[in-house]
């Protein structure tokens, strides 16, 4: 049967093959001149970029190191000895940040996904759950993280209930519920971006609502929102440091202790540098995923 179809396409294919094939030839002098001109332009712009970058760099260094207070600032923010002494404690604190980040990232994604799914449920029975999910995203996108953190880490232990988790766990929960509210909206946007015809196709095959969500809608939705999702995780990465306000000795808290001992701010700079280092791979992955998504989108459009 398909062979019949292929035979149909036959004539067009052969006519395409018979199209006269042009031999490659040397570019004309005119085209050679254009190519040479473009090459010269490229070299020129590279040189200009290098020179202007260098000039700006020199200007900045002169401005900062030439400032009247530079020597004192250098001493109290960029002291190599203090940095070396502080590094082990800060690294130990950083390990706590990394573990907390992993736990909070997974937790916030699960909470976000569950909330987004609850918000898309239509049957009347689920009205209370839907209302709860909606008000959750409203409240915790509005509430400042620091206040949520204080309420949980100082307020909850104040209740003196038995079995209260540690301050660290409570702080983690504060991060999870705050970021979960943001991620819920990201997931919901993704779910709503999947065209209704995809659901119709899945339902028409006999898939249930749940199977349609799990097998058809969510895989497409998550792929589409991966860039904003990862971007929120980069933000979470540094907000994990706020846990230091509640007491646990993370990288920032360790730096604070060192600073208090030496009256030198270098440990903060060290901790800041480590946070940036931790973020770079995550940011790189985000950019890569974003680029890939953009490419796929343009491929879809041109198809």
């Amino acid at each position: 049967m398909a062979r019949r179809g292929e035979r149909r396409a036959g004539p067009e294919l052969t006519s395409e093959l018979k199209a006269p094939q042009r031999a490659r030839r040397e570019p004309s002098p005119l085209q050679r001149e254009r190519l040479a001109y473009r090459r010269r332009q490229t070299v020129r712009s590279v040189v200009v970029a290098a020179v202007s970058t260098l000039a700006l760099g020199v200007l900045l260094v002169v401005a900062v190191t030439g400032a009247p207070g530079w020597d004192r600032v250098k001493e109290s923010f960029l002291d190599a000895d203090v940095a070396r002494a502080a590094l082990p404690d800060i690294l130990r604190g950083m390990w706590l940040n990394v573990r907390l980040l992993a736990f909070c990232a997974v937790g916030a994604m699960l909470v976000g996904l569950a909330t987004a799914l609850l918000r898309t449920l239509r049957p009347a029975v689920f009205f209370p759950l839907r209302a709860l999910a909606t008000s959750y995203t409203y409240v915790f996108r509005g509430a400042p993280l620091i206040i949520v953190l204080y309420l949980l880490t100082f307020g909850v232990p104040g209740l003196r209930l038995s079995g209260t988790p540690t301050v660290l766990v409570l702080g983690g929960i504060a991060l999870v519920i705050t970021y979960g509210a943001y991620l819920a909206e990201v997931f919901r946007a993704g779910i709503e971006s999947v065209h209704p015809s995809q659901r119709a196709a899945a339902r028409s095959l006999g898939l249930t609502y749940r199977q349609t969500m799990r097998r058809v809608v969510l895989p497409q939705a998550v792929r589409r929102v991966a860039p904003p999702l990862l971007n929120d995780l980069v933000a979470l990465q540094k907000d994990v440091g706020l846990i230091s306000l509640a007491g646990p000795i993370d990288a920032i808290r360790a730096a604070q202790i060192q600073t208090a001992e030496t009256y030198d701010f270098t440990p903060y700079v060290v901790a800041g540098g480590l946070f940036v280092l931790l973020a770079i791979p995550l940011i790189a992955v985000t950019d890569w995923v974003t680029l890939r998504a953009a490419r796929r989108q343009s491929a879809e459009l041109s198809a």
Binding site: A2, R8, A200
Partner: protein, 246 residues
């Protein structure tokens, strides 16, 4: 014998617009019924109502004699027994051709992966797409995608196959391969209800043509009668306009 599909005074309204106006229609087993009519005459809506993607506002639709418009009926179970192919293919872009075809057998009918894939590969081979099983839909031409969509709808072995303008989104040179496949299905005895604008195809594949006008079947009969000596002036007018345009 009980008809596979029976629509009795089916009514569908969108706001104040009446899209299906007490429409009545029966399709016997192995019959191919082709719906023709202007855009907005209700062809697609009828197909969507039969597949329970839309709920009817009045009337009854029966599949093998059983009322499927009863709200107590499990719509998922009904849809398992009706295949539908859409104008825009609606393949799942994140799944390979093979996974598109095996999704329903594996998840709805709980068949083993190997078993489902074996059947899917055999069916893909029959439509000339054996080498495309591992590809993703966006790597296929429109005609190939639409053939995959037909295989996907058939893999459940449905009682009734609905085809909704399946060639309207295709480039003209790709229409032939899809229509050839539909003619093959007819030869195999698949019961079909088809909405189309392709009159030559309608003539060649239909056992019966129904001309829809403003949500009603104005005229129905064998292709030769409808196309060569239509009784109704509106049918004649519609066919003439198409002839003029073609």
């Amino acid at each position: 014998m009980t008809p596979v599909l029976a629509c009795e005074a089916v009514r569908k309204e969108f706001g104040s617009t009446v899209v299906l106006d007490d429409l009545t229609l029966e399709i016997a087993e192995h019959d191919v019924v082709v719906l023709i009519g202007a855009s907005g005459s209700g062809k697609s809506t009828l197909l969507r109502c039969v597949n329970l993607l839309e709920t009817v506002d009045d009337g009854v639709i029966r599949l093998d004699g059983r009322d499927i418009t009863d709200p107590r009926v499990d719509a998922d179970k009904v849809r398992e027994r009706i295949g539908i192919v859409f104008q825009a293919y609606n393949l799942f872009p994140h799944l390979s051709v093979l996974d598109n075809v095996t999704l329903a057998p594996r998840r709805v009918h709980r068949r083993a992966r190997r078993d489902a894939e074996e059947q899917a590969r055999a069916m893909l081979a029959r439509v000339g797409l054996a080498d495309k099983a591992g590809e993703y839909p966006d790597r296929l031409s429109g005609g190939q995608q639409q053939r995959v969509a037909i295989v996907r709808a058939l893999v459940n072995d449905p009682r009734l196959l609905l085809l909704d303008e399946i060639t309207s989104a295709l480039d003209p040179e790709l229409v032939g391969e899809v229509l050839a496949l539909v003619r093959d299905l007819k030869d195999q005895g698949v019961t079909m209800m088809i909405a189309t604008h392709e009159m030559t195809f309608a003539r060649r594949v239909a056992d019966r043509i129904c001309f829809l006008d403003r949500g009603r079947i104005l005229e129905s009969g064998p292709p030769a009668q409808i196309f060569d000596e239509p009784h109704e002036p509106r049918t004649r007018q519609f066919l003439q306009r198409l002839g003029g345009a073609g």
